[in-house]
C-alpha cells in the first residue's frame, strides 16, 4: 500500500499546482473578499456605527465567504473528468484523499485570508501589527475548523445536482461556532484586552478543530464510496 502521507502530499501538491495554473477558485475568492470589505466599508454610516464596532464581524464574514468560494472547487474539479475514480482506484486509503484535499483547501483559504487581512486594515483603518500573532493564531484555529468540515461537506455536495448551492446550506451551521469564536477573540484583541481574556475561546476553537478533523477523517471513506 502507498504511504498515506506521501499520497496526501502528492494530492495537495497537484491541487495547488492546478489552481496556480487556472487560478479559478483563488481569483474569484479574492475578488469576492475584496468586494465584501468594500461593501462593508462604504455601506456603513460612520456617524452611527464606528469602524471598531463593525470591524471584527466584517473581517470574519470576509474570511468565511471567501473560504466558501474556494471550498466549492475542491471536489468539483475531480468530477469534471471522473478523476475522483483515479484517486479511489489508487492503492491508498480513502483518508489520504481527504487529507490531500484538506491541505490544499487550507492553503487556498490561507492565501485568501493573507490578502484580505491587509485590505481589511486599509479599509477599516485598524492596525493589527501589535496583535498580529494572536490574530494569526485565532485565524488559523478557526480556519482549520471550518475548512475541515467544508472539505468533507464539499465531497458530499459534489454528488448533488446543485453542488454550489448545497455547500453553503450544509456548511453554514457548522461555520457558526468557529466564526463566532473568531469574532469574539478578534473584538477583544482590537479592544486591546489581555490575551488571558480570550484563552477560553482559543481552547474552544482548538477543541473544535480536533473534533471535526477527526470526525471528518472517519466519515470521509463512507462519503467517497459509491
Amino acid at each position: 500500500m502507498v504511504n498515506p502521507l506521501r499520497a496526501t502530499l502528492a494530492l495537495a501538491a497537484r491541487d495547488i499546482r492546478a489552481e496556480l495554473r487556472s487560478r479559478t477558485a483563488l481569483t474569484s475568492a479574492l475578488v469576492f473578499a475584496a468586494l465584501v470589505l468594500v461593501v462593508f466599508n462604504f455601506a456603513r454610516d460612520p456617524t452611527r456605527l464606528g469602524a471598531a464596532d463593525l470591524a471584527p464581524s466584517a473581517l470574519w464574514i470576509t474570511f468565511a465567504f471567501g473560504a466558501m468560494t474556494t471550498l466549492n472547487r475542491g471536489f468539483a474539479i475531480e468530477k469534471e473528468h471522473g478523476a475522483l475514480d483515479l484517486l479511489r482506484l489508487a492503492p491508498m486509503p480513502r483518508e489520504a484523499i481527504y487529507g490531500g484535499k484538506l491541505l490544499a483547501n487550507l492553503a487556498f483559504v490561507f492565501v485568501v485570508e493573507a490578502v484580505a487581512l491587509p485590505l481589511f486594515v486599509l479599509f477599516f483603518n485598524r492596525p493589527v501589527w501589535h496583535i498580529l500573532a494572536p490574530v494569526l493564531l485565532v485565524t488559523a484555529l478557526a480556519t482549520i475548523g471550518f475548512v475541515a468540515v467544508g472539505t468533507l461537506l464539499s465531497a458530499m455536495a459534489v454528488r448533488t445536482r446543485f453542488a454550489e448551492l448545497m455547500l453553503p446550506l450544509l456548511l453554514l451551521p457548522f461555520m457558526l461556532p468557529p466564526v463566532i469564536g473568531g469574532v469574539q477573540v478578534t473584538a477583544r484583541l482590537f479592544a486591546d484586552r489581555p490575551l488571558s481574556e480570550v484563552s477560553g475561546w482559543l481552547r474552544l476553537l482548538a477543541v473544535y478543530d480536533v473534533v471535526f478533523v477527526t470526525v471528518s477523517v472517519l466519515i470521509f471513506p463512507a462519503v467517497a464510496d459509491e
Binding site: 499520497a7 497537484r14 473528468h81 471522473g82 478523476a83 479511489r88 482506484l89 492503492p91 491508498m92
Partner: protein, 238 residues
C-alpha cells in the same frame, strides 16, 4: 498469493441496485491468468456497472469480488494495485500537462522516479511530443491513448477496459491489442467492454454477454467475430 483455483479475479453473485432498479442481478465471473474476456451486451445491460464493481469503484449491493484470492474491500487498498482501468472518462486533469498528470498518477502508486516513469509511459504511447500540453488541447484519440497509457503506468496484471478502442486510429488499436496480448501472455488478464467485437477478437479468449444485468452467455472464443456477431446480435446491439 493466488487462490487455490489460481484465478486472478472472481466475482460471486454480484448484485448492484440503483433504487428499485437492479443493474446487476447475480453476476458470477471467474477470470484466470491468460484470459482476455470480451464483455458485450446491449446498452443498459450492466457492463460498465460490472466493471466498476470489479474495480472496487462501486460497492455491490450483494456478492463479493476477489482479486488474487483476496476480497476487494474499500479499506483494502493493496488489492487495487493489481487493477488498471480505462473508463468512459479519461481521468486526466484539465489544468495539468500530460507529464504532470502521469507523474501524479505515478506518485499515487508510489512508483520510484515518477517523472522518469511518466516520461517513459508517454514515449510508449507516442505522446512524448505532447508531454507539455494540457489534455483539452489533445484530440479525442490522443486523450484516449493517454488514458490507456496512464492505466498501464503501474503495470497492473488485471485490466478493466471500458470501450478502450473508442476514438483510436488503426495504429493505436493495434498497439492496444499488442499491449493486451503482452499482459495476458505474462499471466495477467483483461476484461474488455466493446460494442465492436471485431476490434477485440484477435486477443479475446472468451466471450461473456450480459443481458438485463445477468450473464446470458459465457463461452470460450470460437469461430470468427463475423460468425459470432451473426449468431449473437447482442454483441453489437448498442
Amino acid at each position: 498469493m493466488r487462490p487455490s483455483d489460481g484465478s486472478l479475479l472472481t466475482a460471486t453473485d454480484i448484485e448492484r441496485a440503483f433504487g428499485a432498479r437492479r443493474a446487476l442481478a447475480g453476476v458470477s465471473l471467474v477470470m484466470q491468468p491468460g484470459e482476455a474476456i470480451l464483455l458485450a451486451g446491449p446498452n443498459g445491460a450492466g457492463k460498465t456497472t460490472l466493471l466498476r464493481c470489479l474495480a472496487g469503484l462501486a460497492r455491490p449491493t450483494r456478492g463479493t469480488v476477489n482479486v488474487n484470492g483476496r476480497a476487494l474491500r474499500v479499506g483494502d487498498a493493496a488489492s487495487r494495485r493489481h487493477i488498471g482501468m480505462v473508463a468512459h472518462q479519461t481521468w486526466l486533469h484539465d489544468d495539468l500537462t500530460l507529464l504532470e498528470n502521469f507523474s501524479f498518477a505515478a506518485r499515487l502508486y508510489d512508483l520510484p522516479e515518477p517523472k522518469r516513469v511518466a516520461t517513459a509511459a508517454l514515449e510508449r504511447a507516442g505522446l512524448e511530443a505532447r508531454a507539455g500540453d494540457l489534455p483539452p488541447s489533445l484530440s479525442r484519440g490522443m486523450q484516449q491513448r493517454a488514458a490507456i497509457a496512464r492505466a498501464l503506468l503501474h503495470r497492473p496484471d488485471i485490466l478493466l477496459l471500458d470501450e478502450p478502442f473508442s476514438g483510436l486510429d488503426a495504429a493505436a488499436c493495434a498497439r492496444l491489442r499488442a499491449t493486451i496480448a503482452d499482459i495476458i501472455a505474462g499471466g495477467g488478464g483483461a476484461i474488455i467492454v466493446s460494442h465492436r467485437p471485431e476490434e477485440v477478437w484477435e486477443v479475446a479468449t472468451r466471450v461473456v454477454v450480459l443481458r438485463a444485468g445477468r450473464v446470458a452467455l459465457d463461452t470460450p472464443k470460437l469461430g470468427s467475430a463475423a460468425t459470432v456477431m451473426g449468431e449473437l446480435p447482442e454483441l453489437t446491439i448498442g
